[in-house]
Amino acid sequence: MIEFKLPALGSDMDEGTLLEWKVGVGDTVKKGQVVAVVDTTKTAVDVESWQEGTVHQLIAEIGRKMPVGTVMALLLAAGETAPAGVGVGGTAMPVPKAAPAVAAAALVAAPAPAAAPTGPGRRMISPAARKHAEEKGVDLDSITGTGPHGAVTLEDVEKAAAAPRAAPVVEKSAAQMAAAQQAAKTADMRKTIAAAMSRSKREIPHYYVAEDIPLANALAWLQVANVQRPMAERLLPAALLLKAVAMALKRYPELNGYWRDGGFVPVAAINLGVAISLRQGGLIAPALLQADSKPLTVLMQELTDLVKRTRAGSLRSSEMNEPTITVTNLGDQGSNSVFGVITPPQVALVGFGRVAERPWAENGGLKVLPVVTTSLSADHRVSDGHRGALFLLELNELLQHPEDLEK
């Protein structure tokens, strides 16, 4: 039996709330398949399973908060059969389709629906019961259903409404509720960012180095490359910068990984956490996975998709919990340079300021070039300023040969 546990969806997460099961009992689960949607303090995340099997039991309840590591579901490995005596709990099994009624017994059996009436995990509440509960301000979670399959019926709600109540129910409009929820969510995110950044500045001895990188070659190359591309597939400078960071990191592995238990743990995969600001405030840095191995076109598509899904709140767990370094790119709206705060347990952060035309002295002459000030904030426990500076020079070198970054 395989235990599917609530993973930490980000290093700062210690609990989560199950929003939705994406699988039902009996479903086959493949590696990397999204099995549940879990709400963290930052966003709703699609949680993937890293093991294969058949869903035997869904344990976690929708809407219940649980600590990281809680067993959410049990899967049967291939070839494994359910142990005797372990019942299938929590959810309704699909009702088998009734055979054509021929025998007298079948004649009087209630016609069974061909499939389970609702998805696993969702409580069955009749529409009339739901409506009545809303009118009376009855909390449906506090009611035990007595209808078929444990459904909450109108009668259940009427009984609950008639029962004396401990505290008066404050009636709120749906809009008020939604606004309050959003405010609570924003406050939660602020708290999460506050905790992570305080920890970072408390524990990580940051050092900072910066380098002005001319982008004339890079932007000229992009312009040519984009001429042949349809509008939707055009490359933005951000994709090139990210690819360059990923390639540079291959030579500076001490910047890519985690500080854990008093020591540095390098990570082979280069998963760039891309800082994305949210419209309602706050930010998330989900990962572009294995950015070093992806062609520029793919990276661009994935970046666009990642930004879209981050803002829509549908990130996958691997994107949330696996960034090995963070890249912050202030873009056109940003300032000249940025010196970021490292996201623990990562050990480095690369910051790009605004790309702008600046006077550039070279070979005894002066020209005007597009330039970006690039910074590195890194953990002095793991690396030193000298290596950090070399990393930035490598980054500079790579960006002078954009054609080599394409593949």
């Binding site: 209630a110 016609p111 009436p117 009339a128 019961a129 209808g147 459904a151 009668e155």
Partner: protein, 324 residues
């Protein structure tokens, strides 16, 4: 003073009255004359009204239904008897493509005041080719009205308003009802627009029509013994459906089971359920259930045929499923 008579006599009286009162009315169909009607609905009519008005036809549904449409266009008020719904499939082109469309196709210049009567339903060991319940098919067609008299009162009363209607009316008479006896009240006039509650209740609405009505009423009696107060709603008019009355019953009882002798898939029951979803979803306290015929050609063997059709026991079981 009400009086006792059976469904067959009620229908015969209705036709007799129409033939007597309106010279434009005539009856046409297979065996309606010499033989007195396959189900003896027109026994003695040939002698009384003569061969001009009681016309035996060849075995050609396409032909004589078409002749009925022509007569109606020409100002007559024909009653065309098609022996059973099974044979009416041969006349579908006339009914669907001609009768139902002429008002529309002529820009309102022509109407087809035609009444088509046909026997429907299973339960008499007539096997798969003579046991269809295809009311639902006809109820799909705009341009016609579809009636399903299931009581003595409706058998007696529905023909007159059907003949008075300026558009084609198809009347489905379930063979299982022909020998049913009942009291005919003094005022038996009825409309052909509304559904009717045949038994008032508050716990579950059993929505049905035609040959399933007596089964639904029997089920309601059994349920009463179990403490469940069932309402039985007789649709009566299958097109256009009386949505308001259906929703009133559903809103009152909050649970509904639709009983329909048609096959389940794409059935009239499905249409009723869809309307409940559209109009009364928030009134429901349970998913709407239905009891339909099993999706097989209706078997010949009695026990198999009974097992294939809606029965009071199946209705009771469906209703008890709401309270399990």
């Amino acid at each position: 003073m009400s009086r006792k008579l059976n469904y067959r006599e009620a229908m015969r009286e209705a036709m007799h009255e129409a033939l007597t009162n309106d010279p434009r009315v005539f009856l046409m169909g297979e065996d309606v004359g010499m033989y007195g009607g396959t189900y003896a609905f027109s026994k003695g009519f040939l002698d009384e009204f003569g061969p001009e008005r009681i016309r035996d036809t060849p075995l050609s549904e396409l032909g004589f239904v078409g002749a009925g449409i022509g007569a109606a266009l020409g100002g007559m008020r024909p009653i065309v008897e098609v022996m059973t719904v099974n044979f009416s499939l041969l006349a579908l082109d006339q009914i669907v493509n001609s009768a139902a469309t002429f008002r529309h196709m002529s820009g309102g210049q022509f109407s087809v005041p035609l009444v088509i009567r046909m026997t429907t339903g299973a339960g008499r060991q007539l096997a798969a080719q003579h046991s269809h319940s295809l009311e639902g098919w006809y109820a799909h067609i705009p341009g016609i009205k579809v009636l399903a008299p299931a009581t003595i009162e409706d058998a007696r009363g529905m023909l007159a308003p059907a003949l008075a209607d300026p558009d084609p009316v198809v009347i489905f008479e379930h063979a299982g009802l022909f020998n049913m006896e009942g009291e005919l009240p003094d005022d038996w006039s009825v409309d052909i627009s509304s559904a009717k509650v045949r038994r008032a209740g508050k716990d579950v609405a059993i929505i049905t029509h035609g040959g399933s009505l007596p089964k639904a009423l029997a089920a309601a009696e059994q349920l009463a013994a179990a403490g469940i107060d069932a309402e039985v709603l007789d649709l009566r008019v299958l097109r256009p459906l009386d949505t308001a009355t259906i929703m009133a019953s559903v809103a009152k009882c909050r649970r509904a089971v639709v009983v329909d002798e048609g096959w389940r898939t794409g059935s009239l029951a499905a249409e009723v359920m869809a309307r409940i979803m559209e109009n009364a979803f928030y009134e429901l306290d349970a998913p709407v259930a239905r009891v339909c015929s099993e999706e097989v050609p209706i078997p010949y063997a009695r026990h198999m045929e009974e097992a294939a059709l809606p029965q009071a026991e199946k209705i009771v079981a469906a209703v008890k499923g709401f309270f399990a």
